[in-house]
Structures are given as structure tokens and as C-alpha cells.
């Protein structure tokens, strides 16, 4: 399908066999890309070409392709999830690029996110932070109280929801010069801190999650705010402020487990 407005592009893509060897940028050409295609469809076309030419396709994480699973994670032209605000890589469309452009594509770069292959990184650290306290300790029993037993002010519920929309993609870490995970952790801490159900364990939660975050090797937050700018879900820096407050008050008063 040759189209009048198809794009011809030069791609500089990070290639790395595994976590044990060094990687390097490789150059590829793709042609006649429809501006209506998504960025990942463009990557599919590159891969199809590589396969047909006997090469090794570029590995990258992706699944839902609609901005919600948090799998996709490309650093495009120096920005996490590429140009455009409040979008993931899979929601980026080729109409954002110009014919003849060169596009640089790299994985997330952070000590706590080692590269597995090409553009795929290991974000297991996020799961371990969640296992340290990202939950309400309630079992499934069928006997929990009625869902409407505790009314929750709409404003709190809405704020909790906004924090809970974090997709765990890691763009905040990748965008931060210190590779800090504060935005991610604070989003979960805030969600629960804003809801009555989460208040019971609020102190242990924040202490344990922050401890795990530090153990994983994420850097400190120096308030540059790059994370908020690149976050595809618009998670606000207010969450970091809330977490800091929660943390301070918990450090003074809680018996840490």
C-alpha cells in the first residue's frame, strides 16, 4: 500500500542481546509508514522487514496497545513515551513525525530497571515495592460489610481514583535524573491514604514501601518534576507531597514492622 503521505524514516534503535553484554545503537530505514499508524505498528513493520531480511527483530514490551497495561516503555527522542503529553508509547501516532526524520529509540535507563533485551527492561522492583505494602489487609470472605456502609466524600474518592490510575509503566523513573520512583510509590500510598479502608495500615504501608523503594536502588527525589511531565496518566506531584507528609508522621509515631 503506497500512500501519497507515507513517511520515510531513519530509526536509531538500541540493540542489546541480554543483560550480560553491552548494547549499541543500530540504524534502520522504514518507508511508506501511514501517518495513521501507531508507533508500535511502525515497530511491527520494522520487525516484519527484519524477519524477511533474515535479521533479528527488535524486542519490546507491549500488550494492550491502548495505554492502560503499562507494558510499553520506549524512550523516544530523549523522552519517555516520546513526544506528546499524557500518552504511552502505544498511543503515540506517526502523524507526530515528519517525513525524513530520524527517530532515536532506547529502553528505560535506570539502575533498578536492568535491560533484559533490546528495549525490554526488568521492572520487577515495582512488584516488590507493592508486595511490601501496596494493599489493604482484607481477606476474601463474602462477609465484608456492605459497600455503602461507609460513605466516602466524592472529592476524596475522586482524588484516590486519580492516584490509582497509575499504570506502573516506569516512565517517571526513566525521566528522572536520579531515577527516583517517588511518583509511582506515592500514587499507591496516596490512593490508600485517601480512603477510610486504607487508613488503618497507613503508617506501616508508607514506611515499608519507602524502605523497599530504597532497597531496590531507586534514587532520591530532588523535586525537579520531570516525572510529572512525562507521566502518561498525569499523576500529580501532590502525591509526592502527601507521601512525604505521611512518611514524616509515620516515622515519628509508628512501630515499624
Amino acid at each position: 500500500m503506497s500512500t501519497a503521505n507515507g513517511l520515510n524514516l531513519t530509526l536509531k534503535v538500541w540493540r542489546q542481546k541480554n543483560d550480560k553484554v553491552k548494547g549499541q545503537m543500530e540504524t534502520y530505514q522504514v518507508s511508506d509508514i501511514s501517518p495513521d499508524s501507531s508507533f508500535l505498528e511502525m515497530m511491527d513493520i520494522l520487525n516484519e522487514k527484519l524477519i524477511n531480511d533474515g535479521g533479528d527483530p527488535v524486542a519490546f514490551d507491549h500488550d494492550c496497545r491502548e495505554g492502560i497495561c503499562g507494558s510499553c516503555s520506549m524512550y523516544i527522542n530523549g523522552e519517555a513515551h516520546g513526544p506528546g503529553r499524557e500518552i504511552t508509547t502505544c498511543q503515540l501516532h506517526m502523524r507526530e513525525f515528519k517525513n525524513g526524520e530520524t527517530i532515536y529509540i532506547e529502553p528505560w535507563r535506570a539502575k533498578a530497571f536492568p535491560v533484559i533485551k533490546d528495549l525490554v527492561v526488568d521492572r520487577g522492583a515495582f512488584d516488590r515495592i507493592m508486595a511490601a505494602g501496596g494493599f489493604v489487609s482484607v481477606n476474601t470472605s463474602g462477609n465484608t460489610q456492605d459497600a455503602n456502609a461507609i460513605p466516602i466524600p466524592k472529592a476524596d474518592a475522586d482524588k484516590a481514583f486519580d492516584a490509582a490510575t497509575c499504570i506502573g509503566c516506569g516512565a517517571c523513573v526513566a525521566s528522572c535524573k536520579n531515577s527516583s520512583a517517588m511518583l509511582f510509590v506515592s500514587a499507591k500510598v496516596s490512593q490508600f491514604a485517601l480512603l477510610p479502608q486504607g487508613k488503618v495500615e497507613a503508617k506501616e504501608r508508607v514506611l515499608n514501601m519507602v524502605q523497599q523503594m530504597d532497597d531496590e536502588g531507586f534514587g532520591n527525589c530532588s523535586n525537579t518534576g520531570a516525572c510529572e511531565v512525562e507521566c502518561p496518566k498525569g499523576i500529580s506531584l501532590d502525591n509526592i507531597a502527601r507521601m512525604n507528609r505521611e512518611y514524616m508522621s509515620a516515622s515519628f509515631t509508628a512501630d515499624k514492622k
Binding site: 514490551d61 491502548e66 492502560i68 520487577g124
Partner: protein, 669 residues
């Protein structure tokens, strides 16, 4: 036929589940510690099951192919989850949810299962709220509801357009808690490639570590398949890219019957395909039909001018618009069930009224302008703005719509570069959900002893058509409230079994089968990529086994799919090696299974000589194009037994008995 025992408990329908729970065997806490359960899948079904089983004390090993359980396809569900809470006082009840689901499924589901689903639905909402799931609330702080298609009450709970995400994160939190305690051992980036049976019982799986390529043996006393639906057999669907049938198909090949493969849901409101490079389709939630009105131009020449880009929808006068759903189905209007809405869209487009500006011309409008004005006026009144100008009213209305559907509108704009606040959305049906799946009895056990199937992977609750917001309900019902009981009844016999050794010859044999197949792919050195075959299969499925089916097309499809499959095994090319991360190798295995399923799917559709729910046979329809069921011959579940080639599969029928609901022609007029 003795093989198909649905094990429905005796007694009146409203007492069955309670009686059942009162009489099953229990496993005491100390013994649970000696029992291992494998859960394949961490979506709503698998995630809730894994968490609940671990809380009960079992040792759970959970598997998913993504890098984290939080990324399972359930995350993408948008609109909401049903529950018979009757918070709105609009006459809802367990019975009504049960009735709506059976009717919505076009009388092809099992009454007892559906009743149980309706019965536990209310608990789901309680459980999720206790976990900190931030559902939408009203200004009084209580939970809000919306309406979905095919029902006349508001029983859908939601979290903006991200209900699935919030529910899944709830499950994931519950899992995380158990992972932290060591009660769940989580295997991320692992794909189950076979089930292992010992003495006829499911005792483990063979999995591939997708990072290292290592083939691993895992044993357990029971195996739960929660691997989701198989809509990707059509290549293009609203499913996640990795959604697949393989786990279900592998157990099918080892003895689990596969039920009603042809029951597929084609969702009416998806963003139309833009061209050949398309990799997947995006859903626009059904909740939009609460406020959006669907239409095409009344005049063919208007439709032609729109397709040619010479006319804009906003230029078409009200009287020249055909709100065809409101016209054909006055009592349900835009909220008819999905299958009905999809066929009606296809009918209008086939008749030449489509408004797509893409290559196919296939699209209809979903228009919010009346809702914007209606809400705007309401807001003007609430805010005491007298004589508000039209611009002001519009502004106020846009605000309301933004609060309700903001993220969906944004998603639409990102994909299409059109602003749906100003111009109607263009939508077209797309494959979305599969009602068919692994056959299970009332206990959710497959025809392999000790192998269970839950969530979209099984066939049990939705008959021939699923109502909106009922998949999330089913997944969580299965995982939180049903399986934890039913599996205990089975595992009670295993308290003295002890750990299952992975050195048993059955494990060795299953592992060899898996490695042989992988070696084949890597060494085949064919000429065509996996996607090439997947796309070809998808085209056949969509054109001949899609929204409207007939005997001729289905017969051709069966032959064509077989041909594609044979060529696949000769010509498929998988680059790279088996001992490292290799996404092409993963895809090859999944497409190989789709190529078998596809043929059985078409056969099932050919044999079901009636139209019911999502299965529409052109030969069996009224003159007005409404579906015609044949209750006399087809009030049964078609459960297929594997015998080698799909052509050799043997059909077993589970008769469906309606004792509580009278079989009627489904009418939404």
C-alpha cells in the same frame, strides 16, 4: 454421553449454592499447607483465585506471560461491573440479574451457574470496596451506577472508563500481599505450554521462562486455567496483543472438552480499522451508549458525500439522520444488546449508508450532541443560570460529558485526531469477547480431573451472548467466591498425597513434546513470518466466520483454514534462538493453536443450524433480519472432544434445561 455430567446440585435454584456449600468437603488449615495449586493467568479470574486460595492457606504458583500480574488483559476493561445491589431502588434483584443474563445469552447458558453468579455478585462490590477500589461515587458519598445494554435497571458499578484497571489492581494488591508472605510464588514472563496428567489427574504444567528460554516443570495437586479469551483468532480484535487460546487449547488436547467455540461477541462500538498496517482495534466502551445516539444518513447520496470527504456529519440536518436503533428497537433504543447493535450497523453499511472515510467505508456515527445539550440545560437550571446562551449550555454540557467519559473521548482523539466533543465519533463493530471456552461443570472443573477453568477461558455463564459489564463480574465471582469452595471439595482427597514429583515419566514426556515443537520452529527456516499466517487466518475468520455466517462460507472457511495451517507448518519462519527472549517464537506457538481452533470454530458454527446471540446464520433469520433460534434442536451446549485433527473432533451435547425461565424469542423492540 456419560462423560458430560454438569453436576448441578439438587433443589430449588435459589437454594442450590447454599446447600452445595453446606455439604462439600473441607480441608483444614494445616492440611491446606500441604497442597499446591497452579493458577495460569492473573487477570480478574486468575488474580482473584490466586489471592483467595493463598489466603485460605494453599501454596499457590501463579503464572502470567506479562512482566507483572498487573498487566493482564482485564486491565483494559472500561465500562463497569454488574451487581444486583439494587442501590438505585429501581427494582433490581438477584432474580432479575439472573433473568437478564439468561435472556441476554439468548437462552443458551446453564441456569444454575447463572443464578449463582447473580447471587454472589453483590459480595463482589463489598469485597472490592474493602480492598480500596475507588469506584465512582455520588455527592452523598455513596456508590454510583450506570446502565448497560440489554437491561432496564442501573446496576453497573464503575470507575470512570477504567473499571477493569481498578478491579485488577485490587486483585493485584491482594496477590501482592500473598506474594510478600510467600504464599503465592509468582512466575512472571512465563508461558504455560502444556498440562501434565498423572493417572488421569491434572498434576502440573510445563512452562517456558520467556526471559531465559528455559523449559520448566511445575507440579501441583490441581491446575486452574484462567488464561482469558481467544478473540485474537480473528487477528484484529480489541484483545491485548498477547491474548491467546494456548492454555485452553493445550488442556483441550489433553482431554478437556471445548464448548461452543463459535460463540463470539462482536462489539458494536469500536474505532474503525484505519488500514492494512493495523495491529489491533480499540473499543469505545458500551457505557457511551447511555448518552450517545447512533445514526447514519437517511439518504445514500449523503453517505457517499461523507465517504468522499465532501460533507461533514454536522452539516446533516436532524430530519436527514436515521437513528436506526431507535427506529427498529423503540423500547431499548441505543441500549439494545451488543449482537443486535452490531448486526444493525453491518446491515446499514452493507446497504450503502456507511460513513467511514477509510478504505472500507465501514462506520456509523455515535453522536453526543443531544446529550451535551440535555446535560447543559440541566446544569444551567441547577446553577440558576437563566437565559443561558446556546454556547454556555454547550459548555456546561461538555463539562458533564467530560466528567463521565473524559478518558474515552481523549483515547478516541489520540487515535483518530478527531474531537468527539465537536463531531460525532465514528464506530464499527469488532471482535471483543468469546463466550465459548473450555467446558466446565458446576464446580468449574473441566473434563480433566483436577483441572479447572475460570473467567473468560471457560464457557459457563454467558450463553450465546454476554451482556456488558458481566465479564468482570464473572471473573471475580469465579475467583473470589466460587472456585475457593469447589476446589476444596476436590482437594480434600489430596491431603495425604504429598508433593508431586516432577521426575515422573509424565513430566518428562510432556516436556519432550514441548521442546520438540520449539526446536521445530527454530529449525524450520521457512519463508514467511508468523504474522503473515495470523493475518490470513484472521481474514478468513472475519469474512466467513464473523458477524454473519452461512453454510457455504463456513464450509469454505474450514477448507481454507486447514490449508493455511498446512502451509504454516511448512513455511513458517521463526528467527532467533530458543534459549533467550524470543517474542516471535511465543507468537508462533500461539498462532499454531489458533489455526487449529479456527477450524473447529467454523465447524461448530456450521453445525449450529440456528441463529442465537452472537452466532448469526443468514439462513436462519426472519425477513426483517432478526435472528431465529431453533430451540427444538439446539437447546444444548456443544462440547468438543479432541481426536487429532479438528475435522475429527467429536461432538458431545449437554442439554440445557430451563426450569425457572421460560424460553422466549428475545425481543428488544
Amino acid at each position: 454421553m456419560t462423560k458430560l455430567d454438569s453436576k448441578i446440585p439438587e433443589g430449588p435454584i435459589q437454594d442450590k449454592w447454599t446447600n452445595y456449600k453446606n455439604h462439600i468437603k473441607l480441608v483444614n488449615p494445616a492440611n491446606k499447607r500441604a497442597i499446591d495449586v497452579i493458577v495460569v493467568g492473573t487477570g480478574l479470574a486468575g488474580g482473584s483465585a490466586a489471592a483467595s486460595l493463598a489466603e485460605l492457606g494453599y501454596n499457590v504458583k501463579a503464572f502470567c506471560y506479562q512482566d507483572s500480574p498487573r498487566r493482564a488483559h482485564s486491565i483494559a476493561a472500561q465500562g463497569g461491573i454488574n451487581a444486583a445491589k439494587n442501590y438505585q431502588g429501581d427494582g433490581d434483584s438477584t432474580y432479575r440479574l439472573f433473568y437478564d443474563t439468561v435472556k441476554g445469552g439468548d437462552y443458551r447458558s446453564r441456569e444454575a451457574n447463572v443464578y449463582r453468579l447473580a447471587e454472589v455478585s453483590a459480595n463482589i462490590i463489598d469485597q472490592c470496596v474493602a480492598q480500596g477500589v475507588p469506584f465512582a461515587r455520588d455527592y452523598g458519598g455513596l456508590l454510583d451506577n450506570r446502565s448497560f445494554g440489554g437491561v432496564q435497571v442501573s446496576r453497573t458499578f464503575y470507575a470512570k472508563g477504567q473499571t477493569g484497571q481498578q478491579l485488577l489492581l485490587g486483585c493485584y494488591s491482594a496477590m501482592s500481599r500473598q506474594i510478600g508472605k510467600g504464599k503465592i510464588k509468582m512466575y512472571n514472563r512465563h508461558e504455560m505450554l502444556d498440562i501434565v496428567k498423572v493417572d488421569g489427574k491434572a498434576r502440573g504444567i510445563i512452562a517456558r521462562n520467556l526471559v531465559t528460554g528455559e523449559i520448566e516443570r511445575h507440579s501441583a495437586h490441581a491446575v486452574v486455567i484462567a488464561s482469558g479469551g481467544y478473540g485474537n483468532v480473528f487477528f484484529l480484535s480489541t484483545n491485548a496483543m498477547g491474548s491467546n487460546v494456548s492454555a485452553g487449547w493445550k488442556v483441550h488436547k489433553k482431554g478437556a472438552f471445548f464448548a461452543n467455540p463459535c460463540y463470539t461477541q462482536i462489539h458494536p462500538t469500536c474505532i474503525p480499522q484505519h488500514g492494512d498496517q493495523q495491529s489491533k482495534l480499540t473499543l469505545m466502551s458500551e457505557s457511551l451508549r447511555n448518552d450517545g445516539r447512533i445514526w447514519v444518513p437517511k439518504k445514500k447520496e449523503d453517505a457517499e458525500a461523507i465517504r468522499a470527504g465532501k460533507l461533514k456529519p454536522t452539516q446533516i440536518a436532524e430530519e436527514d439522520r436515521d437513528y436506526y436503533l431507535e427506529r427498529r428497537y423503540p423500547s431499548f433504543g441505543n441500549l439494545v444488546p451488543r449482537d443486535v447493535a452490531s448486526r444493525a450497523a453491518k446491515e446499514r453499511c452493507d446497504a450503502g449508508y456507511g460513513v467511514g472515510t477509510n478504505e472500507t467505508g465501514e462506520a456509523v456515527y455515535l453522536d453526543f450532541s443531544s446529550a451535551i445539550m440535555r446535560y447543559g440545560k440541566e446544569q444551567a437550571n441547577i446553577q440558576h443560570i437563566h437565559n443561558a446562551s446556546e454556547t454556555k449550555i454547550r459548555e456546561l454540557g461538555v463539562d458533564v460529558i467530560e466528567k463521565k467519559y473524559g478518558n474515552l473521548f481523549q483515547m478516541y482523539e489520540k487515535i483518530t485526531a478527531d474531537d468527539p466533543y465537536k463531531t460525532p465519533m465514528k464506530i464499527y463493530p469488532a471482535v471483543h469477547y468469546t463466550m465459548g471456552g473450555v467446558w466446565v461443570d458446576y464446580n468449574l472443573m473441566t473434563t480433566i480431573e483436577g483441572c479447572y477453568a475460570i473467567g473468560e477461558a471457560n464457557f459457563s455463564d454467558h450463553g450465546a451472548n454476554r451482556l456488558g459489564a458481566s465479564a468482570l463480574m464473572q471473573g471475580l465471582a469465579d475467583g473470589y467466591f466460587v472456585l475457593p469452595y469447589t476446589i476444596g471439595d476436590y482437594l480434600a482427597n489430596d491431603i495425604r498425597t504429598g508433593e508431586i514429583s516432577t521426575d515422573l515419566p509424565e513430566f518428562v514426556a510432556a516436556e519432550k513434546e514441548v521442546t520438540d515443537r520449539i526446536d521445530f520452529f527454530i529449525n524450520n527456516k521457512g519463508t514467511k513470518s508468523v504474522d503473515y499466517f495470523h493475518k490470513r487466518l484472521g481474514k478468513v475468520m472475519w469474512n466467513k466466520v464473523g458477524m454473519a455466517r452461512n453454510a457455504k462460507g463456513l464450509t469454505e472457511a474450514i477448507a481454507e483454514i486447514k490449508e493455511i495451517r498446512e502451509e504454516f507448518w511448512k513455511e513458517v519462519k521463526v528467527p532467533g534462538s530458543a534459549d533467550s527472549m524470543n517474542p516471535e517464537l511465543e507468537k508462533a506457538g500461539r498462532v499454531a493453536d489458533f489455526l487449529e481452533l479456527g477450524e473447529l470454530f467454523a465447524r461448530d458454527a456450521l453445525l449450529r443450524e440456528e441463529s442465537c446471540g452472537g452466532h448469526y446464520r443468514e439462513e436462519y433469520s426472519t425477513e426483517e433480519g432478526e435472528a431465529m433460534r431453533d430451540d427444538e434442536h439446539f437447546t444444548h451446549v456443544s462440547a468438543w472432544e479432541y481426536k487429532g485433527e479438528p475435522a475429527d473432533a467429536v461432538l458431545h451435547k449437554e442439554p440445557l434445561n430451563y426450569e425457572n425461565i421460560e424460553l422466549k424469542t428475545r425481543s428488544y423492540k
